[in-house]
Amino acid sequence: MTADMHELALAEGVIQTAAKIAEEQSISEITEVIIQVGELQQVDHEVLRFALERLRTPTMRNARFTIESIPGRLKCRICGEEWNFNPESLSEETSEAIHFVPEVAHAYISCPGCGSPDFHVLEGRGVLLASIRGVKRDE
């Protein structure tokens, strides 16, 4: 995987969103940020963590970044089959394509039951800021 800079951009998105929420919710100090990372996009957790540490703002200077992995779960719209996304079965080129634009999975993956590419991603697509914990300004 040669997508380190993409993780940096994702981390920036997480940090900006967390900072915005803290501002909106009058949180003076963020203590924990929980990030859910979908397996489909094959984000490198270590690179993401490194980037988060580097980008943390003063409001989150002591915050713990918890990164949870969400398995990629796919469901066929034709036959109803559900299956797990298996990154091991893809070439490096395909993995990288899905890493950048997860929807191109429809070009490379088909239902193991009926062969249709008409599936949807039940869970594990992208990077989600699941929650933040912190101390309110007026507390």
């Binding site: 040669t2 997508a3 380190d4 800079m5 993409h6 940096l8 951009a9 998105g13 394509a97 899905i98 950048f100 634009v101 997860p102 929807e103 191109v104 429809h106 070009a107 490379y108 590419p117 008409d118 949807h120 697509r125």
Partner: protein, 228 residues
């Protein structure tokens, strides 16, 4: 996209009216006038501009997201970098997610114009671009056919309702004199940008940018750009 001067969506209610060739010609014409131009192919299920421009073997550079490669002097972005030549069937929600992903990861450098080759209709891509891209303007393409214009008429209605700027309507593939589209647009108070005749020589020029810019089609579109 804050470094982009003008964002122009080349769009139509109907497929097959020449959006991609018009978008390509518009991008190249602006390039030849010394502008910095990007071309984004947003027709994810049926991308075509890479065929028109003969773009092969390019791949975006990664640098804090991705940087669209230079193709014939244009910053060119297409889903085909990732889907290659494979069919990519996408439902509406997938189209929306892919649009957001492409807009989020692509880092455009300073551009005077970004031309967007839109998929036909007023579905997901059109609604998403209106929702996500502030200041987007639409250049509509129709043929002289009542069937094509009927879809463009509805598109004009939508854009008007949403207070989106319509640069005008280009009438493509004109084969015989007709005032139908011109009169309809006058009634709707939308600018008729001009007519582009059906060019039997266009097909043989696709895939070769030099030949493409030598076609009657290209010089017709170029004449329209000069008047914009």
């Amino acid at each position: 996209m804050e470094k982009i001067g003008k964002i122009i969506a080349v769009s139509s209610g109907k497929g097959g009216v020449g959006k991609s060739v018009v978008a390509s010609a518009l991008a190249l014409g602006l390039r030849d006038r010394g502008h910095r131009v990007g071309l984004l192919d947003l027709d994810f299920t049926s991308p075509a501009s890479h065929v028109i421009l003969g773009v092969e073997g390019l791949y975006p550079e990664e640098e804090y997201g991705i940087i669209s490669p230079l193709a014939h002097g244009l910053r060119y972005m297409s889903i085909t970098y990732y889907s290659l030549d494979k069919p990519t069937p996408l439902r509406g929600s997938d189209v929306s997610d892919a649009i957001i992903e492409i807009l989020a990861i692509t880092r455009w450098e300073e551009l005077d114009y970004l031309i967007i080759d839109m998929p036909p209709g007023i579905g997901d891509a059109t609604l998403d671009m209106i929702r996500l891209v502030e200041g987007i303007q639409f250049l509509l393409v129709t043929t002289p056919s009542k069937v094509a214009y009927e879809t463009v008429r509805k598109q004009i209605g939508l854009l008007r309702r949403l207070e989106i700027t319509i640069i005008g309507v280009l009438e493509n593939m004109v084969m015989k004199p007709s005032n139908y589209v011109r009169e309809q647009l006058a009634m709707n108070k939308v600018c008729h940008l001009g007519e582009v005749g059906f060019d039997p020589g266009l097909e043989d020029a696709l895939g070769n940018v030099v030949k493409f810019t030598e076609t009657d089609f290209y010089s017709n579109v170029d004449g329209i750009i000069a008047r914009l």
